[in-house]
Amino acid sequence: MLDSLLAVGGLVLLRDSVECEGRSLLKALIKKSALRGEQIHVLGCEVSEEEFREGFGPDINSRVVYHDLFKDPLNWSKSGEAVPEGPLGTLRTLCRRTDPGPVTIALDSVSWLLFHLPCITLCKTLHALSQPSVSSGADSLVDQVRVLGLLHEELHGPGPMGALSTLAQTEVTVSGKMGQTSASILYRRPQQRATYQTWWFSILPDLSVDLREKLPLHSELHPDPHTTQVDPTTDLTFNLHLSKKEREARDSLTLPFQFSSEKQQALLRRGPGQTTSHIFYEPDAFDDVDQEDPDDDLDI
């Protein structure tokens, strides 16, 4: 499961909820990337660096660069520990990084960034961040960039959630509780149909993933179109079929409100020699006879 999530670059959104946290899965993905030899940049906004690095061995920790936006993101302490450029500046610096080799950027969390930055600015920056970077030098290699973003579902409305979904190449929704967790993964690949996968897993204390079961791919759930359709008219207590005579009688029936020329002739009885019709009107004593034509002003 982790390999398929890390197979392509772009934005991977990890959606979690209060009932089921997604930070462990984020850390498991970071561990997997680090073991492949990638450099990891973590933008930490919600937990301290010490708490985030818990569970990583020294070999992993050496590959993880932690940008601390947890301790003093808004420069309240004035102790010089704050990140001077703020969250947006830090993100933009990550866009301009020049280290060679594939890199993974982990955002813990995108929810925090959405609260502190305008949605449009954040989306533009995330889009720029997840573009492959071109190494300087004669080879001009294109390095894959992967952005893992942790997003807390209940904190945002449909607008920002929809905007982030459109940006993401992969969306993982974690749910479940009491040790049983499921990840529903939506893969969006360019020029391909979106595919779904669902995995049951649990994350061990050393941040490795214990996979339980994979549910079938969405496309595999469609039934074979060549199987025979079941005839719904079998085993009925009444007759739905028509015999030949009954069918002919039904077809020759004229419907009472269907207008045809025969019907018109039958209804309108024209007097001999009369080409126009006359209307004979005898007003009552109470009738208000107005010689003016009320439709005079209509321009037909």
């Binding site: 209060v18 946290e21 919600e46 301290s48 010490e50 708490e51 947890f70 301790k71 003093d72 993101p73 808004l74 309240w76 929810s111 609260f115 502190h116 807390h152 209940e154 904190l155």
Partner: protein
């Protein structure tokens, strides 16, 4: 403190975890008994407590605390308790010199403010003195309650930022605990309160929910166990 609650949480004043955020939450009932519990619990545990009390007067909390076996007056005199009485303080702000920051400074600001001055107050109350020697075990911040801050015009993000700074200082730096109460108005369309509640739930190590039932009070412990245990109302 309530011994039944201690038994449920598996804690005693002598042995309790440090560096944790506990979120208290009440729905259709009054969860303030949880605040009284933790106030007396941490005072008995010999911790330095900073209590941001926005809802009731000092004498109210003192009367309840005395029933639970602690004296807030004595604790305050000894320096163990720093008590911010929101009801009194919010009126004092108008007679306060504008140059000096007041903990509830945001009440004076016309536009959506932040809680930087309140955070500074908490930090100054709980940080150890220069000598480093302190008779108290670890610092504790108690807030009653955060939903009031939303009613006073602050946005949920401002309150979440304040709680983040308190966590960074009290939990991570000073290895203390933070306990805060938030109301849960599930039926009302209060988006800001929902964001505050869910946002804090993500960050909490323990969430204690008190829910009102027709038959009495029922407490649902989320995070460690999720078995609702009905018991009689607290006096």
């Amino acid at each position: 403190m309530f011994p039944e609650l201690n038994n449920l949480l598996g804690t005693t004043p002598d042995g309790t975890e440090q560096g944790k955020l506990t979120l208290l939450c009440d729905a259709k009932t009054d969860g303030s008994f949880l605040v009284h519990h933790f106030l007396s619990f941490y005072l008995k545990a010999n911790c330095k407590v900073c209590f941001v009390a926005l809802v009731q007067s000092f004498s109210h909390y003192n009367i309840v605390a005395q029933k639970l076996g602690v004296s807030l007056t004595a604790a305050r005199e000894q320096g163990q308790l720093v008590f911010l009485e929101g009801l009194k303080s919010s009126v004092d702000i108008f007679f306060h010199a504008q140059e000096e920051p007041h903990p509830l400074q945001f009440l004076r600001e016309a536009s959506a403010g932040n809680l930087q001055s309140l955070y500074q107050f908490v930090r100054d109350s709980l940080k150890p003195v220069d000598s480093g020697e302190t008779p108290w075990k670890f610092p504790v911040l108690l807030v009653d309650n955060l939903s009031v801050l939303l009613s006073l015009g602050l946005e949920a993000v401002a309150v979440l930022d304040f709680m983040q700074y308190c966590r960074a200082t009290v939990c991570c730096e000073l290895k203390g605990n933070v306990v805060a109460l938030v109301h849960d108005n599930r039926d009302a369309e209060d988006k800001e309160n929902g964001i505050l509640l869910n946002g804090l739930s993500h960050q909490s190590h323990l969430v204690l929910r008190a829910e009102g039932l027709a038959t009495g009070f029922c407490k649902d412990v989320h995070g460690q166990k999720s078995v609702p245990i009905p018991y009689d109302t607290f006096a």
